[in-house]
Symmetry: C2
Subunit: 201 residues, 2 copies
Amino acid sequence: MTTTGKRGPYRGTAARRREIVDAAAEVFGESGYRAGSLKDIAGRVGIDASSLLHHFGSKHVLLEAVLADKVSRDAQALHWDEEIEPAEFPAALIRLAERNAANPGVIGLYTVLLAESTTVDHPSADFFRDRHATTRRDFLRGFDAMAEAGLLAEDVTPQEAALSTLAIWDGAQTQWLLDPGAIEVVAVLRGHFRRITRVEV
Amino acid sequence: MTTTGKRGPYRGTAARRREIVDAAAEVFGESGYRAGSLKDIAGRVGIDASSLLHHFGSKHVLLEAVLADKVSRDAQALHWDEEIEPAEFPAALIRLAERNAANPGVIGLYTVLLAESTTVDHPSADFFRDRHATTRRDFLRGFDAMAEAGLLAEDVTPQEAALSTLAIWDGAQTQWLLDPGAIEVVAVLRGHFRRITRVEV
DNA sequence: GTCTATACTGAGATAGAC
DNA sequence: GTCTATCTCAGTATAGAC
């Protein structure tokens, strides 16, 4: 009698965990991990904080569930496993950026936790360090393929392309969070690809 | 009998305030504003938290003192008031980045608080929004002058140059904080200027 | 100007009834 | 599974002695 529906007494534990993870992603994105409270998260689900802790033993465990969930969703959206044509690589990244722009909450979660993770003794420091290393590798692979196909601009190395793309993307998202009217993340990214590649995006 | 020396009973209140502001900048840079405690700051100065509050009425007031101090130091270093030659503009920004690289604490303070300020009800949200708007204007002025002198790369607008420079700079600093071995902020910035301008940096 | 003592608040987490 | 009650801890801030 699991997951018979979205509401009601027979909703099941799995569905409740889903609700909690979603609410936690919201709250951590808005307030960060340390400032985001279990009370706030529980309140959005409509339960007490102690009930929340019945499902996730501690705040830390909940954070890890939120991050794991984000990873699996991203992987699902990107299909890194499938081979991407070198010429299509920038366009694939633009699509991801557009998808994020449509879900502002995701940007907050990622950008706020990323920066917070650079502070001392932060529980997700390792996660973001690993994740950024992985992303750098993925980007490097993509731009390497582009270089071989002669699709990078003159004097731009794959390494340079990977690092600068990651930096400008994160930076643009932070600025957008700070002042949504001041910048368009997708436009900045498009301009960047126009400068570092030879393909249209 | 103010500021007769750095230590001793006649050190004076002004010097004590300086020590506190410096320690606070350190702590806020390492831990962020919300997670950084007055106890920690006071401890680094060698006094009790209640003594700290004798000098600065509240944590919020202390934060504002730290930010004001940073602004005045930056202004001093940049000399925006003096006219900068269009061709020298990128080099001036590189110098600032190099100066930051030599004082890692400054990067943490700025980058961590910037990201934290995007969270709800953060006391320095207005400060960073205003400051980013000002910086965008300053950058725009610099790149406008470069455009008039024909020093921007083809198809790069001053607006685009200003936004992308700000984004890539912030993003590179965040990545550096996360994993200092993975990226060199100055090199990324140099590469960016090589792509968007026609001057050597 | 600095300390000790204390008030107050809100956090995360646990125990146990239902 | 959820609640109430409670514990423990750390934080900011205040009062008052020295």
